[in-house]
Amino acid sequence: MLSLLPVLPIVIPLLSGAISLLFWRSLWIQRWIGVGGTGLLLLSTLRLLSEVERTGILSVQIGGWAAPVGITIVADLFSAIMAVLAGIIGFCVAVYSWYGVDERRQSYGYFVFLHVLLMGVCGSFLTGDIFNMYVWFEVMLMASFVLVALGGTPMQMEGAFKYVTLNLVSSALFLAGIGILYGVVGTLNMADLSVKLAQTADPGLVTTLSMFFLIAFGIKAAMFPLFFWLPSSYHTPPPAVSAVFAGLLTKVGVYALIRVFTLIFVQDVVYTHNLILIMSGLTMLCGVLGAAAQFEFRRVLSFHIVSQIGYMTMGLGLNSRLSLTASVFYITHHIIVKTNLFLVSGVIQKMRGTGDLKKLGGLYKTHPSLSVLFLIPAMSLAGLPPLSGFFAKLGLVIAGLRLEQYCIVATALFVSLLTLFSMTKLWAEAFWKPRPDVAEGEDEPRSDDEPMCLTMILPILVLALITLTIGIGAETFFNLADRAAGQLMDPTEYIEAVMRTRS
């Protein structure tokens, strides 16, 4: 049973999704399976992380076919951490969706697709085979396509359209890259690719090839200049769906970038990683400037996803152990915080019926506790101590200074300042300013706010506490991230774990 541990995060959502399908007509059972299934997923990923932390990298050869022929499921520390994060987000959003998603959407299979989405995400994190990763990406995309379009309001259809198109282009490029990679190297197992490419006769060709993957994953991760689809689609579906997307989907792209650019494409680090560094700087800057111009709660947050992606890939671009540590730490922090912010925006939207900052206001007066729950992740995102975002940014800045990359460090600090500005804008507009009177020609605002329900507040509270914990106990998490980065920088352990034949 223990040897199958790395497969569990894929199998559990698959089963939960399938069982939910059997109870198509009973929302009640689907909700319980939603909460129970994601809860089990979270437990299995936690167990996986503790096992990987204790005994080193785990691998399972699917069907008993030894690597590099068969498909290998590998869990190193980085994968395990990402899987745990997927479990946390899945569980919190499943609880939140109980009342956070309307019954019509739920009756059309919302929970089923949530499970499938989590399966695709965990599969992408845990696979050790590049083509298998493509398949998991498609599983995840298919579920996300349905989730983004489910409900069918005109706004959603437009958003879904942009989302689907850009992701399909990215998939086609990814597949083309895999095809050429197989033609050049003759293997698809990532560990085997790493070994064989280390002694390649033609590094120029491999670097060209790596650009396919940079563009494909860059689109998924919403890096500059490929990010335009994100802010125009993420705010259209219900907030619970936006929260999962914001937390997990783009981070799958970042995960894939870090995986292939530490394990496979390390032939011409000066060229590829400097390119990533430049893209990171521009991603940060464009995202935050875009956010400054927005006046809709979730659109502001969407642009901030873009800008935060820049920080994560900055650690990859700097390419040292410390910078990768900071990247892993940053991803951990960001997934928790960003999902939390989207969940808060959902509560506000449900209460007031709008996410338009100009129409919001006065929330601090009526709901002081909710305001505090917003303030914690918002300040964490901006990077104020002692919250998790501060340590994540500190790590990146120190790593950048040690490598004397002053330009990117300056950009990171400047963007951080603008993030703070943007978060205070949200605070001032939605919470602090008095509630605006009815403007002419508009519907009368509801006199009473809808009451908040406990299942929507509880996940927010849990995520806020996790942010605080990561901030206060930063050393523990930093050490874990450091070990994960150690495994990424020196792939020998990964390769040995995959190649070790075990049935």
């Binding site: 396509f145 005109p154 879904a160 282009v169 086609a172 197989y182 033609g183």
Partner: protein, 115 residues
């Protein structure tokens, strides 16, 4: 054969990208399926083409006699075709629904999410 495939793949890619850049939604979908076909053919061609040598194991031995056609790219293409079929079907349903709800067939008019 390689040259012919290269030309076909190039033509499919350029036609696909051209169609994606048009304003009509239907052309966009056709363009997307061209792109996925081009990628499938690219996987097929990049794996190396060997004519008339099926990878069959002769009786009494454990491996086929080289040179034989590599079966793996074909398996990959098969998987990718199935995926792209499903995705295209979804995209068509989405087009239909978008047209029903927004009444627009022109991508430039789908601008409500931008501001």
């Amino acid at each position: 054969m390689n040259l012919l495939l290269a030309i076909v793949i190039g033509a499919l890619y350029s036609a696909g990208f051209y169609l994606i850049l048009r304003r009509s939604i239907v052309k966009l979908i056709i363009g997307l399926s061209f792109l996925s076909h081009a990628s499938n053919l690219l996987v097929f061609a990049a794996g190396g083409l060997t004519r008339g040598r099926a990878p069959l194991v002769p009786p009494g031995s454990l491996a086929p006699v080289p040179p034989y056609a590599d079966p793996l790219p074909q398996a990959l293409v098969l998987t990718a075709i199935v995926i792209s079929f499903g995705v295209t079907a979804f995209a068509l349903a989405l087009v239909n629904r978008t047209y029903q709800t927004t009444g627009q067939e022109d991508i430039d008019e789908l601008r409500r999410t931008e501001c």
